[in-house]
């Protein structure tokens, strides 16, 4: 049997009924959502089923949607069936104030660092992970930097005068602290004469 998006959807609906929601196919990839306590059950079924065989975890990450009340964090799994060469995307949403999600490390060894990375940047607490500590950021960090409440600095702000980083140039033009690298007023006149 050749797997198609329809047959996968049918198999999953047979097993889980209407517990799986938000069926979509953006750019041809079957996407669906489940309750967060169901994530391991769904992953296990996708892994073990003799026809589905989604045994390769391509990617695991999170997305922050501050506007969705009580479902702010989405954990996104990209799974790949290498035999039939078909990919699916599976999501669970969790409350940001209680971001507990079951860890997939028992199914996929590769989930280990990917979950650590997701914890590191979004603070998703993967229950059952063997070593859930920060991986790319420093251990002392107290916040989860990829969340949307931490915007990147506005590059056009003018209240900051750090010439070392090439900013504040407009302010520095009339500034007394002109350094040797810039052309001072007198030199400019000299240059214009020539």
């Amino acid at each position: 049997m050749v797997l198609t998006n329809e047959s996968i959807k049918q198999k999953l609906t047979e097993k889980f009924g209407d517990q799986l929601i938000d069926w979509e196919e953006p750019f041809g990839m079957l996407t669906f959502t489940a309750q967060k306590d169901l994530n391991l059950k769904v992953l296990q079924f996708l892994f073990d089923d003799v026809e589905l065989k989604f045994q390769f975890l391509t990617d695991l990450t999170a997305v922050h949607f501050p506007d969705r009340k009580n479902l702010e964090l989405a954990i996104v799994y990209h799974l790949h069936n290498l035999i039939d060469n078909i990919r699916i995307r599976f999501k669970v949403y969790t409350d940001i104030s209680k971001p507990d999600v079951f860890s997939a490390t028992a199914l996929y060894q590769s989930a280990n660092w990917m979950e650590r990375e997701t914890y590191d940047f979004y603070g998703v607490n993967f229950v059952g992970h063997p070593n859930l500590v920060r991986i790319l950021n420093v251990d002392e960090m107290e916040y989860f930097p990829m969340r949307k409440e931490f915007p990147l600095e506005d590059q056009s702000r003018l209240d900051k005068d750090d010439e070392m980083f090439g900013r504040g140039g407009a302010l520095a033009a009339g500034n007394e602290r002109s350094n040797q690298g810039t052309i001072s007023g007198n030199d400019k006149d000299e240059l214009l004469k020539h």
Binding site: F27, M29, Q55, T58, T61, V63, W113, M114, L136, M146
Partner: protein
């Protein structure tokens, strides 16, 4: 028992049976900035812990503020041994989101650049495996020919290592006759060099003794660990993104996927070598296809997408529309369509994926990179456990861990 608990012996004193060795973050043999804390019994590795993130630069966060075309320079700094593949992967992702269909000539030119990048990537990896097993000659010898590849990049985009090559929809300029001349030179001069490189290593008794059976991984474990690329194929799984989900017209080409069997360092070396030959074949085929374009077709180097592809500079000064598009592109004021997609290319180390969510704004809402290095490096402990320390070093270089890609 009671007393020994109160006596705090210094770490590494005689009573401790094993030695802890800090290998990295800046050690010549790691070829990158990452740390391994290795627990040794004599010279045998009994455990290892990896610390990564020393050059984490928050590319995913930075990308959330940048218009699409400004994200490319970030990607150059991921796997810097084959940055053109990263760039092309990103352009292909954007084109998929924007629904841009690139002309065939652009696809073939991209294949040439991507396969050149693959050769330079594998070349570094294999020659470094040689260096770590004590054979410096091969490395010095082939670097001269990697230079030929870099000269082609230089001719096409103006830079060598962090290339920022190509644009959304095609290339920034057409390939010059000099670029094709240099490509011909490479096609002619490269095979004997690769042949000689192989004769230095492939059946070299010392090299074989050092690599056969070192750092092996079974296919099943490799899949479970998320291996992709040459490292997975060395374990015997013929998964290649170029074949499974063809992009950039790879389906028009005739090429083989070399696979290994045991997944040890020697098989990884052989697979990479085999891939270099296949890449050369692909370059030859693509160059032939490019030459078949005649007349106006041979001048096409980008798709017609004025919203995303910068207009000619002389048009900017003379035509109103071109001026508007130029301004909008440079200032990043084009709204990109909303959508969610995952797109992958076969990078030097494996499946390089881009998970892009756009909410209809001017910058991505979320961009996540699937970095093959980061995912398979976690298997390193399992690969080296029970082996010698010197084997651990060879295993690390034959996995081709690139710190820039791992830390993003």
């Amino acid at each position: 028992m009671q007393t020994s608990e109160h006596i705090k012996l210094p770490q590494g004193s005689l009573e401790k049976q094993t030695t802890t060795l800090n290998f990295g973050p800046t050690h010549p043999a790691t070829h990158g900035v990452f740390q391994n804390i290795v627990e040794l019994d004599g010279e045998r590795v009994i455990d290892a812990t990896q610390t990564v993130g020393y050059i984490h630069r928050a590319f995913e966060k930075i990308a959330e503020r940048r218009p699409l075309y400004q994200i490319t320079p970030l990607l150059d700094r991921m796997n810097y041994c084959s940055s053109p593949i990263n760039d092309m992967g990103w352009h292909l992702t954007c084109e998929k989101l924007l629904g841009i269909k690139t002309p065939k000539r652009v696809d073939y030119l991209r294949v040439i650049i991507m396969e050149l990048a693959r050769i330079s990537d594998h070349l570094i990896c294999n020659s470094i495996v040689g260096v770590d097993s004590g054979a410096y000659t091969g490395f010095l010898y082939v670097m001269q020919y990697r230079e030929l590849i870099y000269e082609i990049y230089e001719e096409v985009c103006g830079s060598r290592l962090t290339t920022n090559i190509g644009r959304i929809g095609g290339f920034e300029r057409n390939f010059t006759p000099q670029a094709f001349e240099k490509l011909e030179k490479f096609i002619k001069e490269w095979p004997p060099v690769l042949k000689e490189f192989e004769s230095l290593f492939t059946r070299n008794r010392i090299f074989m003794e050092r690599t056969i059976g070192v750092g092996p991984i079974a296919a099943e474990r490799a899949l479970n660990y998320g291996f992709t690329g040459p490292n997975l194929r060395a374990a015997g799984v013929d998964y290649d993104v170029r074949v499974h989900t063809p992009y950039s017209s790879y389906e028009d080409f005739d090429f083989n996927i070399p696979v290994g069997k045991t997944g040890d360092c020697y098989d990884r070396y052989l697979v990479r070598n085999g891939e270099m030959w296949q890449s050369l074949e692909l370059i030859k085929q693509a160059y032939k296809k490019v030459q078949e374009f005649k007349g106006a077709d041979s001048e096409i180097f980008h798709a017609d997408v004025p919203e995303y592809y910068l207009p000619d500079k002389k048009d900017v000064y003379t035509k109103m529309e071109a001026l508007i598009f130029h301004f909008k592109i440079i200032m990043g004021e084009t709204d990109i369509p909303a959508g969610e997609l995952y797109s992958a290319v076969e990078g030097g180390n494996g499946e390089l994926g881009f998970y892009l969510i756009s909410d209809g704004g001017r910058t991505p809402y979320r961009l996540h990179f699937r970095r093959p290095c980061f995912i398979y490096y976690q298997a390193f402990t399992e690969l080296i456990k029970g082996g010698m320390l010197s084997d651990a070093i060879i295993t690390m270089s034959s996995l081709n861990i690139i710190a820039g890609e791992m830390d993003a």
